[in-house]
Symmetry: D2
Subunit: 484 residues, 4 copies
C-alpha cells in the first residue's frame, strides 16, 4: 500500500519573499511565471499581522486565486507560494502546499519541490513512535524530523532533519521570524536567490520568476546549502559538505522556461546547442525543419541553423485549454486529442520533414503528430529527438516512475521507428547532451543527472532500490542495444 500513503514524484514551483510589504502580490506574480511547473494546485501563505495565514486550492493559480480578497486576506511582509504538478491519484486537497503547521508557540509553512528516496522508511519509523501524518506528501516528513530533533535551537534541528532526508529536494520554510531555503546535496532541483528593488529577498525555482517580479538575480542556491533570511539579513551555511552537483537534465530538456538560467546556463541556448549537436549526429534529408511547439522550438532552431535546412511553421499550438469530453465516435476521439496541435497544410504538403521533439516517453503523442503531418500531405517524416532514449525511472522529482511506461526501455530504436510510423528516427547521444549544457566540464556528467538515460544514479535509491532492480531484471530486451 505504499503508493497510497506517498505520492511518488512531485514537480513543483516555489516562490518565497521576505521583507517587502507587497510580499503576497509579488508571490502571486512569481507563481504565475512558474505555473508551467505545476497545474494541479496552488497556495500562498502570507505573514500577516496576526500570524501566518493561508489561501490554497486545487486547480490553476487563476482558479485558486479568483478574487482580490484571496490575496488581500493574507497580505503581509513575507510570503511563501507553491504550484503543484498532478501525479495520478494524488489529487488530495490536503496535499496542496505550502503546508501550514500551527503549533502552540508558533506557526510554520513548508513547501517542497522534488522527491525523497527514503520518505517511506522515515514515515514508518516516525509513525511507530506516535507521529500522525495528514498528507501523503514527502514534505511533511521533514517537519516531523525537525520537531523531534533533540538538537538545541531551530537551525540545529533543521540541519539535523535535512541530513536525514535523501533524494532530490528544494525546500522553502517560512516562520514568523524568517524564510529558510535548502537544496539537496546534488542540487537536483534548481533554486535561486534574488533581490527586490527595495531590498526584499526572493528565493524561487527559476530566474524567469525573478525577472517577472522585477527582482535582480543574485545567485543559485548550492548543493547542501541552507540559507536563512531573517531580520539579521541573509545568512548561509552548508548543512552538509558531501555534495556533488547533478542538476536534473530534464530541467534543460523540457521542464524549465527558456528564459531561465540554471547555474549560469540559459535554457533556450542549451536547447539550441542540443539541436545543433543533433543535426551533426543525426542528419536528415529533409526540405524543412519543424519543431513541436512550444518546448522543442529552440532545439529545432538549432537543428535548422546547423543543417542549413530552413525552419518553417509546420505545426500550430492552440493557446486555449480545451475541456476534454468523451466523444461519441472513435474518429471524433482522435480529433479531440489533436486539438492542442494542428498541422499547417500549406507548409507541410509534399514536403520531407525533419520533425524535432524534445523527448519520447510513451510515444503516444509522437504517433499522433506523425499521423497529423501525413494527413496534411507530408511526403516523409524524419523524427529527431533532442535527448537520448528514456530508459530508466526518475526518483528525484520528475514524473517518470516506472520502466513499464517508457517506450525506449522496452523497444529498440528500430522497433520504435516502426511503431511510430516515421521514415527515420534518431536520438541525441548522452555525451552530446551533457556537452551541450556543460554546467561543469570537470564534474561527472558535466554536472548533470542523466540517470533516466544511463541508469547511473548519483545517489543510493533507498526505498526504490528493490523495485527498480526487479523491473530491470524483467526487461526482456538487452538494454545495451538501445543506443545502437
Amino acid at each position: 500500500m505504499p503508493h497510497e500513503i506517498k505520492e511518488l514524484n512531485e514537480e513543483c514551483g516555489l516562490f518565497g519573499v521576505w521583507g517587502d510589504p507587497n510580499a503576497v502580490p509579488i508571490t502571486h506574480l512569481g507563481l504565475h511565471t512558474l505555473q508551467h511547473r505545476g497545474q494541479e494546485g496552488a497556495g500562498i501563505v502570507g505573514l500577516t499581522r496576526t500570524g501566518l495565514r493561508r489561501h490554497y486550492g486545487l486547480g490553476l493559480l487563476s482558479e485558486v486565486f479568483a478574487k482580490p480578497a484571496d490575496l488581500a486576506e493574507i497580505a503581509g511582509n513575507a510570503a511563501l507560494g507553491h504550484v503543484r504538478y498532478a501525479t495520478a491519484g494524488g489529487r488530495l486537497l490536503e496535499n496542496i502546499q505550502p503546508l501550514l503547521f500551527r503549533f502552540s508557540t508558533e506557526a510554520m509553512a513548508l513547501a517542497h519541490n522534488g522527491n525523497l528516496t527514503n520518505a517511506l522508511t522515515l514515515r514508518r519509523q516516525l509513525e511507530d513512535t506516535g507521529a500522525i501524518f495528514h498528507t501523503t506528501s514527502d514534505t511533511e516528513v521533514l517537519m516531523h524530523l525537525l520537531r523531534r530533533s533533540p538538537q538545541p535551537g531551530f537551525i540545529g534541528q533543521l540541519k539535523e532533519a535535512l541530513n536525514q532526508v535523501h533524494g532530490g529536494f528544494a525546500f522553502l520554510l517560512l516562520t514568523e521570524t524568517g524564510l529558510y531555503a535548502a537544496v539537496d546535496p546534488n542540487g537536483f532541483r534548481p533554486l535561486v536567490l534574488g533581490r527586490l528593488p527595495d531590498g526584499g529577498v526572493v528565493i524561487c525555482s527559476e530566474t524567469a520568476a525573478l525577472d517577472a517580479v522585477g527582482a535582480k538575480f543574485v545567485r543559485d542556491i548550492e548543493p547542501g546549502e541552507l540559507v536563512s533570511v531573517t531580520a539579521a539579513g541573509v545568512h548561509t551555511e552548508q548543512y552538509t559538505t558531501h555534495t556533488q552537483l547533478s542538476v536534473c537534465a530534464m530541467e534543460f530538456i523540457y521542464f524549465a522556461r527558456p528564459d531561465s538560467q540554471i547555474h549560469g546556463v540559459n535554457v533556450h541556448q542549451a536547447r539550441v546547442a542540443m539541436g545543433r549537436r543533433l543535426a551533426q549526429e543525426q542528419p536528415a534529408d529533409a526540405d524543412i525543419v519543424v519543431g513541436v511547439p512550444n518546448s522543442s522550438l529552440s532545439a529545432a532552431m538549432g537543428y535548422a541553423r546547423e543543417s542549413g535546412i530552413p525552419y518553417d511553421l509546420g505545426l500550430v499550438k492552440s493557446q486555449y485549454v480545451a475541456r476534454t469530453f468523451i466523444q461519441p465516435t472513435q474518429a471524433l476521439r482522435e480529433l479531440a486529442v489533436k486539438r492542442k496541435l494542428s498541422a499547417v497544410r500549406a507548409v507541410v504538403e509534399g514536403k520531407s520533414i525533419a520533425l524535432i521533439d524534445d523527448s519520447i516517453v510513451r510515444g503516444t503523442t509522437s504517433m499522433q503528430l506523425v499521423k497529423l503531418l501525413r494527413a496534411a500531405g507530408a511526403k516523409a517524416v524524419h523524427l529527431r529527438i533532442a535527448s537520448p532514449p528514456l530508459r530508466f525511472p526518475c526518483f528525484y522529482g520528475i514524473d517518470i516512475q516506472s520502466t513499464h511506461e517508457l517506450m525506449a526501455a522496452n523497444h529498440s530504436v528500430a522497433e520504435m521507428r516502426a511503431m511510430l510510423g516515421v521514415d527515420s528516427l534518431g536520438f541525441l547521444s548522452t555525451q552530446a547532451l551533457e556537452e551541450s549544457i556543460d554546467l561543469d566540464p570537470s564534474a561527472p556528467h558535466h554536472g548533470l543527472c542523466t540517470a533516466y538515460f544511463t541508469g547511473d544514479y548519483p545517489t543510493p535509491l533507498y526505498d526504490y532500490a528493490a523495485t527498480l532492480h526487479k523491473e530491470l531484471a524483467q526487461l526482456t530486451m538487452n538494454v545495451s542495444e538501445v543506443s545502437a
Copy 2:
C-alpha cells in the same frame, strides 16, 4: 445614445453543421479551433428531436461548456455555434449568439460575424413600426427584416432581407429544415464550406476548423452568395450580383490562424511574404530578428530569411491566462501587465534587435515590449511593423472604432519613433502588403480591404459617414505626411 443600443463591431467565429448525428460535438470541436476569434461568450444551438435547443453563456468555450450534459442536452443532426469577441460595454448575456427565435410555427437560430453599417437606421425604422429588439447586436436586425418581408417563401424573404443590410457580414441561419449561409457583397469576412467523411456539410469561418473536425475543404463562400443546405442537398445562388471582393486585410495580418487558407492563400505564408517585403523596404542594422509571439512569428521568419539576420527567441509568451488583480504599487502594475510576455536576457543582452510586430494600434503594448527588451540588456531596438500605419477606423467588423485611439492617425512616424523609444521605426507599404497577399491581382487592392491604412472604403458608410467625416476634420496633423 446610439452606442447603447448597438455594439459597434463584432469579431466572431462561426461554425455550422448539417446532416451528421454528431453535429453538436463536432461544432464544439470546431469552435475550439475558432476560439481566437472571440473569447467573450459562446453558444451552440442543436437541432434536437424536440426542436432547436440552445446552450450559451459568457466566457471561454471551456467555461460555457463545462460538463458533458451541456452538449448532450442539445444533441442532434444539425448545429450552429458561435464564439464572440468582447467590445467594451457590450457584455450582455442577451447578446451571446446564436440568437434563438421561437415562433408559434417554427424556430430559427441566427449567428453573425461582422458589422452592419446601416443597422441603426434600420433599427429605428423597424421600431417605428412596432418592432421590439431584445439585444444590442446587429444580428437581430436581419431577423426582423426577414419576418416582415412581403416576399413569398422563406428564401425570397431572406434574400430581400440580405439586400437591405449593408457592411461586412457572414451569417449562418439554422432552422428545423435547413442551414443557410450568406456573405456580404464584398466578402469582408471569410466563410468556407466543407464536407464531413459521412457526407455532412460544415460551414465555418476558417479552414483550420474544417481540418480540426476532419472535414474536407470544398470552397470559399463568395461575395453576395446565399448557400442553402437542406434535405435536398447544397444549393447556391447569388442574392446580389453587385459584388466586389474586398477581404479584410487584418484577417491576414493578425486575426486568422496561420494554418487557415482564405480564398486560396495560406495565412502563415502571406505573413512570411509580408516579412520578406518588410525586410526589403525597411532593412535594419541588427544582430538578431525577434518576433512578438505568437501572431508576428511568421512575419519575423520572413524578415530573417530575406535579411539573412538570424532569427532568435528573444521573447517568450506565457501559455497561462493570468487573472489581473489591481496591484498595490505602480511598479507591480507594470510588471503585471508584462506577465504575458517576457524577454530572454541571455538572447537579447548586448544585441541590436530587429523587433517585428504585426501592427500598432494604440502603441501601448509596443512601448512595454521595448522597455522589456531594454531592461534585459538590448543595445538597440529597431521596430519593424509588418503592415502600414493604421489611420482610419474599420466599420466592417474589426474593433478599431475611432481615429482617437489610433496612434498613427494622430502622430507622424518620427513622433511615433520618439514616443515608442525605439532606435528606428519602419512600416510596410500598403502596396507591398497587398502584393504579399495578392488574392486577385486584377481587383482593386488585389481583392483586399485596406481602408484602415488608406481611408479608401469599398462601400458607402451610412450610419458612420457623418461621424467619420467630423473626426477626420478634427485631426490636427496632415495625414498625408504619415506615410513619409
Copy 3:
C-alpha cells in the same frame, strides 16, 4: 406546439419602488419577503444614472444576488423586482423577469404576475404581422401591443394594450420617467400600494413586503385600475370600468403569507376562520389536532379552538432545503421524500389524530403524511381539508393546469378516503370557504374566484375553452357527486 411557446401559468412576486435613493436594496429586501411566491428565478432592474440596468438569473434570490456588487451595479432611485415560480419545462433564462426592453429612444422593464387567457391568440396575430418574441412568457405580449398601439401618448397606448389582454394579471412597468401598475378587471392577483418613510412609493404583491421594508400600507390596487407614479406624483385612473372583484381564493388558502392583508382581510385570520368552519362542518373524534406545517397551522389552530380538541406538535418541518439525489433503494427513496416533514412519535403514538391540511391536489403528499403518522404509532388519522375538493384547472395564474392531475376531479370522496388510507376524510364547503374570507358579502362568491372548486369561471376562457370542455367531457365520473 402551443405549450412550447407559452408557459401556462405564472405564480410570482412583484416589487417596485419609485423615488428613493435606496430603491435597489429596498427591492431586494422586499423580494426576500416574497420569495414564497416564486423560487425558480429572480431579477431586479434599477434606474441608474446611465439608464435601466438589470441583474437576473435562475434560482433563489440568495443565489442570483450572491455578492454586494450584484446590487451596487444597478443602484438608483427606482427599481423593479420579480421572483418567479417554476412551471414544468419553462426553466429558460430568457423568461426570467423583469424583462428589459431597450429601444433607440428609451428603455422599459416589465414584470408580470398571473396568466393571460388569450396570449396565444394575440401572439399568433402579432407574429403574423412581423413581431418577434424572445420569451415564452405572457409578459412580452403586453409590450408588443403597447408598442404597436396607434394611440397618442404612452398612457393611451398602455391602456389600449391592457384592454386587449384577458385573464389574471398584475403588471408593473418601469421606464426612465415612471413606475406603472395595472391589475386585471377581476383583481385575481393582489397588488398593494405603500409609502416609504422618506416619501418614496412602493407597489408590490403583498402587504408583508411593505412591512419588511418599513413602508406604510396605503391601499390595494383595484380591479381595472392603472396607477402611474412619476415626478408629478401618484396618479390613478380606470383603464376599464367593466370590473368584478374575484380575488383568487388560493391566495388565502395557501399561497399568500399569513402576515399579509388582501383587500382588508388578514390571511392568517381567514385561515383560522376556515379551520373553525371546518370543525363545524366536519367534526372528528380525535385526541389531538395536528396541522401540516407551515401553511396549515392557522387552519389547525381554528379547528382546535372550535372543536376544543387540543392542538399538538405532531409534525415537524425541516428548515433546511435538502438536495434530492436518486436513492439506491425503494426504502431510501421513500425516506428521502419524507425529509421535509417528520412525525413526533412521543406526541402521536397511540393517538387518534385530526390532521388538518390546506388542500389536496394530486394526493401524493397526503398519502406520505398518513404513512408517516401511522409509522409513528397513530391510532387513527382523520384528514380534514380546509378547502373544498379541487376539481377544475386554474387559468388565472395558479399552477393547476389540467383535470388529469386533480385527485378530486377523478375520484369521489369515498374513493379518495380509501386511496389516502385515512379513517375519515372531510372537506370544507365552498360556501363556508367564501364566508370565512368574505371580502364582499354582496359580490358573487363574496368577491372571490373559486372556479377550481365550482367550475364557475368569472371570465370567458378564450384559448383554453376548447381544451377544458374536452377534458371535462372525458371525466368518467359524475362530478356532481363529488360534493356529496
Copy 4:
C-alpha cells in the same frame, strides 16, 4: 495565543453506520436531519473497497454534497458523517470533520461533538514530545493520545486515551474493521444507538435521525461507555465507572429537535412542560400568547394551555435564508436584521402579548422582537423566558464562552426589563426547569447539567478554571441577586 490553536466550543451532529451497503446515502439522509446542530461544514467518510475515502467542505450539507458523484465516490458498507457549528474565527477547512488519518498500515476517521476542558494542556504536552497538529480542533488530541498509548491492542489504547481527555464529548471513530462510539463520563452530549431494517447499526446524535433513515431506536449510549461495532457484532464496556449523568440542559431548551428523545424524554414534551411551569411561576396579564418561532413554539403551547390565554400566530419566520448585504442606511440595516421574523399586525395590533422565548443570551434578538411587535401595534409585551437567566459560560460544547457576552451575568432582571423595553420580564426557575425535564429524580439536578444558570459545574474545569475565576471576580454586580 491559545484561542488561535483551539476552537473553544463545538456544537455538532454525528451520524455513523456499520454494515449496510447504502451506508453513505443513509448517512447523508441522517446528517440532513441533524443539520440544525451545525451549519458551518459537513463531511462524510465512507469505507470503500479501496479503504476510507472522504468528501467534505465548508457550508451546508446541500452545498458540500452538491452532486450525486460526491456520495457515489465514497460509497461502501460503513460511513461516518459530521455537521459542524460555526464558532467565530474557526472557519478553517482543515477543521471540517470527520478528520481522516492515513497511516502506513491503516486509516481512521474521527468525529467529535463537544468540548474538552484539558485539550490545551494535552496539546502542549504532546507538542513538547514532537507531535504535529494540523487542526485547531479538540478532536485531533484524542488521536495523538491513542497513537502514543503504550497499551497493547487498539481497544486498550482507545480506552487509555478516553481516560485522558476531560470535558464533554461524544466520539465516533471509523476504521476499516469497526465503528466505535464513546461518551464522556457525564453524558453531556447525547448519542443513541439504532438498528436498520437489514441489521446494520446506526449511532448518531439524536433519535430523530434514526427515524429519518428508518432505523429502530435501541438505546442511549451511557456515560463512560465505549461501544464497538465490528464483524463480531455490537460490544459494549465501560472505559470508566466514575460517571454521573449530567445531560446538557440546552439540548432540551433549544438545541435538539422537538421530535427527538433524550434518555427517554421527548424534547417537545419537555418544552411544553417548561411552558406550563413558566405560566405557573411567571403569569402574565395578556390577551394572547405568542412564541418565538420555531424553537419556542412548544413552550408557548405549554404556557397557553396552563394559563388559558389563547395561543396565536403573532410572529412569522421566513423559510428562506437571506444573504446579508451591508445596507446603505441604518433604517435598512435594522430592517435587514429582521428579515427572518415578522409580526402579524392583524394578530398583535392592540393586544397585550405574553411573548415566550427559550432563552436570552446577549439580548439583542429579544430587543428587536419587542420593537417589531410594538411597531405592529402591540399594546403591551410581557416577555417570559422558558429557562433561567444565563449567567455562566459553558465549557462542555455549547457556544457560550464568556460572562462578558451574557446579559444576565451583567445585569439584574429589573435592568434587563428596562433594556429590553418590555412591560414585564420573567424567567423559569432552575428547579422548575429540572423538574420539567426530570431525567432522573434521584440524581443531582435531576440528571442535567445546568451550570450556565447555577455555576455548579459537574466536573473540574482544567484549562478554563483560571479565566473563569477571574471573570467572575470582575463582575461588578452581586450575581446572587439575579435570581430575585
